[in-house]
Amino acid sequence: MMETIVVIAIVTLAAIYTGRRLLQQLKGGGCHGCNCKNKSQELAAFFQKKDGADIN
């Protein structure tokens, strides 16, 4: 019984965590493991600069 409860808890936590991460991905937040969010920010700064604005 205890074993089942522990397993259910782990799976539930994993499902919530995964669900949140996937939701973030769907909102375009990047996949968080491959640095694409940072890359995106770098690129955003780069393009902002290109459009004539100071990156800062």
């Binding site: 074993e3 089942t4 522990v6 397993v7 782990i10 799976v11 994993a14 499902a15 965590y17 995964t18 991460r21 996937l22 991905q25 769907l26 909102k27 375009g28 937040g29 990047g30 996949c31 968080h32 493991g33 491959c34 640095n35 694409c36 890359k39 995106s40 770098e42 690129l43 955003a44 700064a45 780069f46 393009f47 600069k49 290109k50 004539g52 100071d54 990156i55 800062n56």
Partner: protein, 805 residues
């Protein structure tokens, strides 16, 4: 030729001899030979010049004022000059600065534009002269400031400081950069520095006749597109191109032509340091005299004395100095050279790339060892061949070097699974840890050495400067097939990850070109697919894994090229335009820089394995384990009990155990098929069966939508769950290669499918955001998946037909 009579025409043009005193006129043209023209023009009276008639008594000389100089013209000469009456004083003012290298013909152009009437004055605080003049053209009164001739804006000399200060103090509307066409590469260095100041520039490609005589052919339109700077060919000493230059200046001022110099990026490492310094600088902009914070940061990295002095009055000067020093040290260690030298190299790299595209013939380029190597490495034929060979070698070596470390990690993971199996009682918690967590995450971690060596090899290629050459070769190829030259940048980023690649496509202004690029970027195999290739290639072709993997990457590029061609002919018709690929000089990379690259990638890989992949592995384990089918378990237990009861009926214990194992294996397989994941897999199995895939590969493919590495994790969990009851733990690669369903043909078909099918969820979300079109996103998902299915189908069925399968 009538002289002295009133010849005023309908369009207001008359001869100067008929002009009224006190009235303003614009010179239209001059009837006469080249000698007369040269004489009149040298006086500052040329077509477009604005003049005022001071006196015209109807006989004798005519007094005029042009370019603030009073002239007296004979009536005979005045009768040959056509002028157009100007009723109103010109209202529009423009300030332009003439810049250029010494001996680029700057003074000649200054005199052509302003006439002989130069105003020479001392620039405040310095002794170097700054010349000023005026030109009236069309509705404009243009103030021309002649900057000192300089090779750069680095403030090493007084001339350079003046040039910089004039730009800031006089705030010209635009800079006309006089470039000696016969020595274009060196001259463009100054252009790049003006571009960094982020002010509009026009290039006067001067002495273009001399360049042509030397056999140097410059495609000025292409050069203009590449640099983002309007370019006008001129021959100063023959007054050619002056009107075109003035027309372009006015068109720029009126916004009909846009001068937007291509931003020069100095590479991730330098940009990172620049941003850090610029961030502090931007906290107090009051002392910057109008300079942009990024430019100031760049100059600090270059150790510019004037800017270093300027920053002393900054509110955070100590912090800036400290940050700059640290950044300089970091970059010096990383590149093994002074940051200023690296920055200079990057500028020349950009120029070299632009010249390679737009200049042909015997240009006086900076011939050094890089040029000699480039003669071979960017040659249309040998370049492509060497690029292919290097890529093959890269994959081959990656597999060769990783073989042992992969085995060690496999052994470690197996031992860990074995240890947990031995200390924990059998049950769902043990299955979760061993099959879900270790099977899933372990299956991904095991390929860490491959990732490390691959990125080490890529870092070597990048840091030596070869990658820029590869980009150049590919850009040329892409352009030939109708893709925008700039497209190569997002496509190159796509080899890392599709998310920044889609964002990177923003650099392409043309919407059609941008969409095509985004639609084919997915075929540039992202690094998340790498573990899948490593797993499959290692399992089925252990001796030729590198070659097979190279073929997959190559297939991705070929499919991308084919799709560009197809999309260009069907959905997106049009033509493309070129782009500059920087060609930095070759250099020996530093060990620190290489290790840093490798470390960063490895950390990211492990972080992903420990977060999202771990989460998905647990969820996948649940979907593969539940619901429990009591009937299957009861049937298994009943059969095993019967065997154990009839112990004596078996000739040997081995035979009895084999039978029990077989029963357990079949029961596990049945349980898996009956699980949630199994049921989903069984639904899609008919669709993927023609590709040689069973439902297990179907589930792995579906899970890959979350992240491509999850394909490996899912396969690890599937095999873990399937083999759970036999309590043995074997590496996933071995299990795959021993599976009778999966032949090398099925494996290759699977690799092709993984390469081509829809990108992951993150990438699709960014695709939607970037295109703003659900229709395009649906098209992307649909066509890539259909293409993947079709290509894998052709591979599998063709393979079977010729007997490979």
């Amino acid at each position: 030729m009538a002289k002295g009579s009133n010849h005023k025409t309908d369009n207001g043009i008359t001869f100067l001899s008929d002009a009224r005193p006190g009235q303003w006129y614009i010179m239209a043209d001059l009837d006469g030979g080249s000698g007369l023209k040269e004489k009149i023009y040298s006086m500052g009276l040329n077509p477009g010049s604005r003049l005022r008639v001071l006196s015209n008594s109807g006989a004798g000389p005519i007094g005029i004022e042009v370019r603030r100089t009073k002239l007296a013209l004979g009536r005979g000469v005045a009768g040959k000059i056509r002028v157009k009456e100007q009723r109103h004083q010109p209202q529009k003012e423009l300030v332009i600065a003439l810049a250029g290298n010494p001996n680029s013909g700057k003074t000649t152009i200054f005199n052509n534009l302003t006439g002989a009437n130069q105003h020479v004055g001392n620039y405040p605080g310095v002794t170097v002269e700054k010349k000023e003049g005026y030109v009236h053209y069309g509705d404009y009164r243009i103030k021309v400031i002649d900057l000192p001739g300089t090779y750069s804006l680095s403030a090493h000399s007084l001339d350079e400081k003046i040039a910089r200060r004039v730009i800031l103090d006089e705030k010209p509307d635009l800079v006309v950069d006089i470039v000696d066409a016969s020595n274009i590469e060196r001259n463009l260095y100054l252009t790049m520095q003006f571009a960094e100041l982020e002010i509009p520039i026009i290039i006067a490609l001067n002495m273009s006749d001399m360049a042509a005589n030397k056999g140097i052919m410059i495609n000025h339109k292409q050069l203009s597109e590449l640099l983002g700077i309007p370019t006008v060919p001129t021959v100063g000493n023959k007054r050619r191109g002056m009107n075109e230059l003035l027309d372009t200046i006015i068109a720029c001022a009126e916004g009909r032509i846009v001068s937007r110099p291509q931003p020069l990026r100095y590479g991730a490492e330098i940009e990172k340091e620049l941003n850090k310094i610029a961030e502090t600088i931007s906290l107090d902009m009051s002392v910057l005299n109008g300079f942009r914070s990024r430019w100031v940061a760049l100059k600090l990295l270059e150790n510019d004395a004037e800017i270093t002095k300027l920053i002393e009055s900054h509110r955070y000067s100590d912090q800036i100095k400290e940050n700059t020093e640290k950044s300089r040290q970091r970059l010096s260690t990383m590149f093994g050279d002074d940051p200023a030298s690296v920055i200079t190299e990057r500028r020349y790299g950009f120029i070299s790339g632009a010249c390679s595209e737009a200049v042909s013939g015997a240009a006086e380029r900076r011939h050094d060892i890089s040029d000699t190597i480039d003669a071979v490495l960017i040659h249309p034929f040998s370049g492509l061949l060497i690029f292919s060979l290097l890529m093959w070698l890269l994959f081959h070596l990656t597999f060769g070097l990783s073989e042992k470390p992969v085995e060690w990690i496999e052994l470690g993971i197996e031992s860990l699974a074995g240890l947990i199996t031995s200390i924990m009682p059998g049950g769902i918690l043990r299955s979760l840890i061993v099959d879900g967590v270790i099977g899933g995450v372990g299956g991904v971690i095991v390929f860490l050495p491959n990732i490390m060596f691959l990125f080490l090899a890529i870092a070597i290629l990048e840091d030596t400067g070869y990658m820029a050459r590869a980009a150049f070769i590919m850009d040329r190829l892409m352009h030939k097939i109708g893709l925008h030259g700039k497209s190569f940048i997002p496509m190159l980023i796509g080899f890392g990850c599709s998310v920044p690649a889609y964002m990177g496509s923003r650099i392409i202004e043309d919407k059609t070109d941008r969409l095509i690029t985004m639609h084919v970027t997915t075929f540039m195999s992202c690094s998340a697919r790498l573990p899948v290739y490593v797993l499959i290639c290692g399992a089925f072709w252990p001796k030729n894994a590198g070659t097979v993997m190279f073929s997959i990457y190559l297939l991705g590029i070929i499919v991308a090229i084919g799709m560009v061609k197809l999309l260009r002919l069907t959905r997106f018709k049009g033509v493309s335009s070129p782009f500059v690929i920087e060609l930095p000089p070759y250099r020996v990379p530093t060990l620190r820089s290489l290790l840093l690259h490798m470390w960063e990638r490895s950390v990211l890989y492990l972080r992903k394995a420990g977060t999202i992949i771990l989460g998905i592995s647990i969820v996948m384990w649940f979907l593969m384990t539940f619901p429990h089918n009591r009937a299957i378990e009861s049937e298994r237990d009943r059969k095993i009990a019967l065997i154990e009861q009839g112990e004596g009926a078996f000739p040997s214990e081995f035979q009895r155990d084999s039978l029990i194992n077989e029963i357990e294996s079949k029961a596990a397989e049945a349980k898996l098929e009956n699980s949630f994941a199994g049921r989903i897999g069984k639904i899609i199995e008919p669709v993927i069966a023609p590709l040689g895939f069973d439902w297990r590969l179907g589930v792995a493919i579906l899970s890959g939508f979350a992240a491509k590495e999850v394909v490996v994790a899912t396969m690890g969990t599937i095999y873990g769950v399937e083999a759970a009851d036999d309590e043995s733990s074997t590496a996933l690669r071995k299990r795959l290669s021993e599976d009778p369903i999966y032949t090398p043909l099925v494996a290759y078909s699977f690799l092709v499918f993984v390469l081509l099918y829809m990108p992951c969820m993150s990438a699709m979300a960014v695709f939607l955001r970037e295109t703003g079109s659900l229709k395009e996103m649906i098209f992307q998902v649909s066509y890539t998946t259909v293409l993947a299915w079709f290509t894998a189908f052709v591979v599998y069925q063709a393979g079977k037909l010729i007997g490979i399968g």
